[in-house]
Structure formats: structure tokens, C-alpha cells
């Protein structure tokens, strides 16, 4: 049997050094390492790959440094609409949620859709209600907001007002 492996990403883009302080970069790397450890504890104990990927993504969703969960980007209406999915290669089972607003860890809701519904994808307020009905942690939409994202949205809207949005960098557009 093969040796276990875990690999994660926290998003790609300019990752321009000046966008974050040195302390932020250090914490970003620390949270990546924490996500790997959460997964490795499961794999090293003979646990399932499915549990490992969920555990790693939960750690990254809880970090303010990544565009998911706490720290997520804001929509044009200055709210958070979150998406997540999970897939088990052994059974081809899969679950996903999209445009949810109150589920603290959307990847856990994706797994609940996979294991406790006949669906693959649930959307919007119905998905929020499904998560609450299945006992998942739910929060106000403001829980996901960070100052960095508020400033990013304001900067882009200011560009739109000036008519210079076409000059926005990838980092400004996508965060």
C-alpha cells in the first residue's frame, strides 16, 4: 500500500509581498503548516483521505489569511457568499454548497450534503438551512469579514467610480 500524502493550497495570484506584513506572511505559513498537521494526524493514524482533506480545509477556512470562510472576499453588495465541495475518490461520492452566508465551515456542509442528502449541490438560503438543521456551526455573515477585504472592496469601487477599474491589478480584482 502507498504511503499517505497530503497537499494543500491557499490560492494563487500575485501574493505581492507588500500586500501583507512580514508578520502576516509568517502567520500565513504557520496556518498552512497547521492545516497540514491536522490532516497528517489523521493519515498517520490510518485514517481516511476524506477526513484528512476536510480537516485541512477547515483550518484554512478558519484562518483570516485565505479567501475562504473567515477572511473571504466580499461581493459587490459587501456581503459574503461562500462555496465549497468535497469528493471521495473511493466511492465517487461528492457534496457541495454554493452562495451560502451563515455556515462557519462550508466544507463541513459540503460533506453533510454528500453523506446526509441525495443531492450533490445545495445552493443559497436552503443550503444554510440544511446546515443548521444538521447541527453545523452557523454564524452571522459578519463573522467572515476582515479589514483587509473591506479595504479591497472599497479600493475597487473607488476605481470603478473613477473609471479606472480596467487598471486594477489581479490582487485588487481577486484578492
Amino acid at each position: 500500500m502507498p504511503s499517505p500524502v497530503i497537499a494543500i493550497h491557499g490560492g494563487c495570484g500575485t501574493l505581492a509581498a507588500d500586500l501583507q506584513s512580514a508578520a502576516d506572511w509568517a502567520e500565513t505559513r504557520a496556518h498552512l503548516a497547521a492545516a497540514l498537521r491536522a490532516a497528517w494526524r489523521i493519515l498517520a493514524a490510518g485514517g481516511a483521505a476524506l477526513d484528512a482533506v476536510e480537516a485541512a480545509v477547515v483550518v484554512l477556512e478558519d484562518s483570516p489569511h485565505f479567501n475562504a470562510g473567515h477572511g473571504a472576499a466580499l461581493t459587490e453588495d459587501a456581503v459574503h457568499e461562500l462555496d465549497a465541495s468535497i469528493m471521495d475518490g473511493a466511492t465517487m461520492a461528492a457534496g457541495a454548497v454554493c452562495t451560502v452566508r451563515t455556515i462557519r465551515n462550508p466544507v463541513r456542509a459540503a460533506r453533510a450534503v454528500m453523506e446526509r442528502s441525495d443531492c450533490v449541490l445545495l445552493a443559497g438560503a436552503a443550503a444554510d438551512a440544511f446546515a443548521q438543521a444538521h447541527g453545523l456551526a452557523c454564524v452571522g455573515n459578519g463573522y467572515f469579514t476582515t479589514e483587509r477585504r473591506v479595504q479591497a472592496l472599497a479600493a475597487l469601487k473607488a476605481r470603478a467610480a473613477r473609471g479606472t477599474i480596467a487598471l486594477a491589478s489581479e490582487a485588487e480584482r481577486h484578492g
Partner: protein
């Protein structure tokens, strides 16, 4: 966007992805992350994939599944299949793209065509590694 792929000691593969979308996105806009086959895919015996980048292109290309198909039907290696996708995303669509993938043998691929991608892995040697740029 964040994501994870894993291979366990019984040879099972899995993938998961989660995102806030992008800054100032239209209300109701959904990208590749929750679309199975576009941003996330896993098939035992082949590989597991989690993508990041401008979701609309990943959706049109059914990108995560494309990696599995290239390996299953065209006999490509994980490295060949993932590089083809990410580099083509840049040349054909001029968009930033990245992904993490692991195959049934435990090989890992983490290509990206942007200045950086926050990423990390623990492979058979058990050593933990994280990186943000092409370091």
C-alpha cells in the same frame, strides 16, 4: 480559495475546495469551487485535484476532471496532465491558475502560472513543507 488533496494508507484519494469567490463579485455568482469536475475531483486509482484561479474558465474546461481524463485515457503522468492544464490556462485564456493534485502512487503536483501560490505538502518522507512563491 483553499483546497486539499490526500492519499491515505489504504490507497484512497479525496479532494476538497472552499472559497469566498473574488473581490466585488456579482451577487449570486458561483465559480468552479462547488462544481464537481471543475474545481474539485477525485477518482481512486487515478488522482485527486483541487483548483484555484478564475473559476469561469475552470468551469468551461471542466478542469479538474480533465486532469483525471488525461491520465485515464491518454496515459499522461500527473505532472504532464497538470502542467498542460495550468500552462494552457495562461497561454489560451490569459488567466491566473493553480492547483494541487496527488496520484494513486503518491506523486504530488502543484503547478501555478502566477507569481505565487500558498501551498504545502507532506509526502512519504513525513517532512512538512510550506511555500508561497516559486521558492
Amino acid at each position: 480559495t483553499v483546497g486539499a488533496v490526500a492519499l491515505d494508507g489504504d490507497g484512497r484519494l479525496a479532494a476538497a475546495t472552499s472559497t469566498g469567490g473574488f473581490n466585488n463579485k456579482p451577487a449570486g455568482r458561483v465559480g468552479d469551487t462547488p462544481v464537481i469536475g471543475a474545481g474539485t475531483y477525485a477518482r481512486n486509482g487515478v488522482c485527486a485535484v483541487s483548483c484555484t484561479g478564475q473559476g469561469e474558465v475552470f468551469m468551461r474546461r471542466v478542469a479538474a476532471y480533465d486532469v483525471v481524463a488525461r491520465m485515464s485515457y491518454a496515459g499522461q503522468t500527473l505532472r504532464q496532465a497538470t502542467d498542460a492544464l495550468v500552462l494552457d490556462m495562461l497561454s489560451s485564456h490569459r488567466i491566473g491558475a493553480g492547483l494541487v493534485a496527488v496520484d494513486a502512487a503518491g506523486n504530488v503536483a502543484m503547478p501555478f502560472n502566477t507569481l505565487g501560490m500558498a501551498r504545502g505538502w507532506i509526502a512519504a518522507d513525513g517532512r512538512l513543507r510550506v511555500a508561497t512563491h516559486k521558492d
